[in-house]
Symmetry: C2
Subunit: 217 residues, 2 copies
């Protein structure tokens, strides 16, 4: 793993844990584009599923990827400079491709600064309310709504006040998904999907299937 | 063209002009992800080149595209809901593919609200200074720096003060590019490229070439 604090990015191998990334960033005042929650497959699993719990456009936070296609081809896409990924973009189709384009070898995440952060939970009452300020991450786990936010001190204080609830700590959700994290009715839900153990990935559109075939062999 | 003001998106055919889009949005208080500048190829040309003058991540503002591949295949990707484009993403590789994946039939742009807007210019002194607030669009044309910003009234007023200069009006830059808008030393420059008449597109990485071949036939 490489933390480039001055340039606000981090390079992590696909097998790194998400909480390992948090540990590597401790004291830097920088945050990755995921909450302090351990999920199946670590960094690689997260990128292949298209992120977790974000309320922003996750793919834009992945500056680059290196991946191994099902046919054994190594592909390196994007880089550490945003400029590079605004044309001929193979990073974005890989993010959220649920492993169809291959397995993550490395990912480069944009880091964002926060002088404060807060991880809170409160009882789930159905639906994700439109908070102001909107926390960067929101998810339901069983019958509780969780939110994680970071940013300027005043903004995080306003988030605490708006959200209420009580403190949450880093979570390890891997035991919920012994057969893998798929899309279906389950104990975990974010703005994109409800996540269920051993459930399949979302249905693949035909045009995307062609892309898979192109990179697969 | 379809303006969906309540849902903050717009659908435009590829051949529509960029200033035509501005005209369609007049009075809505909503803005597209490009400045009031006419460029070669209108909406389609803009999407294929990956945007113009933006200081944000342009591909995320393109919610969907329909395109015709060089081999005559019609591909529809993404949609009007952000959720749909965060997995199996063929929108992002199309945006900025410089026509290699085909020609734009339709594009769906996210619209963003602004109670005020300002289009300003001032003499170019070399380089793009780090303005606060950062205007949404910045470009050099000949020996002048142009900036367009929209947003809350107070923020636009602060932009005016920080930028200085004088008022600019909508521009038609098509006469600068009778042979098409390519990447090279020229009279127009944004944060990504210097744009030159008749110049080639950026070099294509090998992995992206495979994607082109997959969708081309």
């Amino acid at each position: 793993m490489e933390v480039h604090a001055a340039d606000q990015y981090l390079l992590a191998e696909g097998e790194r844990g998400l909480l390992e990334v948090y540990a590597a960033l401790e004291g830097t005042g920088l945050f990755p584009p995921f909450p302090p929650v351990e999920l199946p497959g670590g960094v690689g699993g997260l990128v292949e599923r298209g992120g977790f719990a974000q309320t922003f456009f996750f793919p834009a936070e992945v500056l680059g990827v290196a991946f191994l296609t099902p046919g054994g081809l190594r592909v390196r896409a994007g880089g550490v400079v945003v400029k590079n990924v605004q044309g001929y973009d193979l990073v974005r189709p890989f993010v959220g491709s649920f492993g169809l384009l291959g397995r993550t070898l490395e990912a480069v995440f944009r880091l964002r600064p926060g002088r404060a952060s807060a991880f809170l939970k409160r009882p789930w009452t159905g639906g994700f309310p439109p908070f102001h300020p909107l926390p960067r991450f929101l998810f339901r786990l069983w019958d509780e709504l969780y939110a994680f936010h970071f940013g300027p001190e005043g903004e995080v204080a306003r988030f605490r006040e708006a959200f209420g609830g009580e403190e949450a700590g880093p979570l390890d959700l891997r035991p919920l998904f012994p057969r893998g994290m798929g899309v279906g009715e389950g104990p975990l839900e974010d703005l994109r999907f409800s996540w269920a153990d051993g459930a399949p990935p979302p249905t693949v559109p035909p045009a995307f299937r062609r892309l898979v075939e192109a990179l697969g062999g």
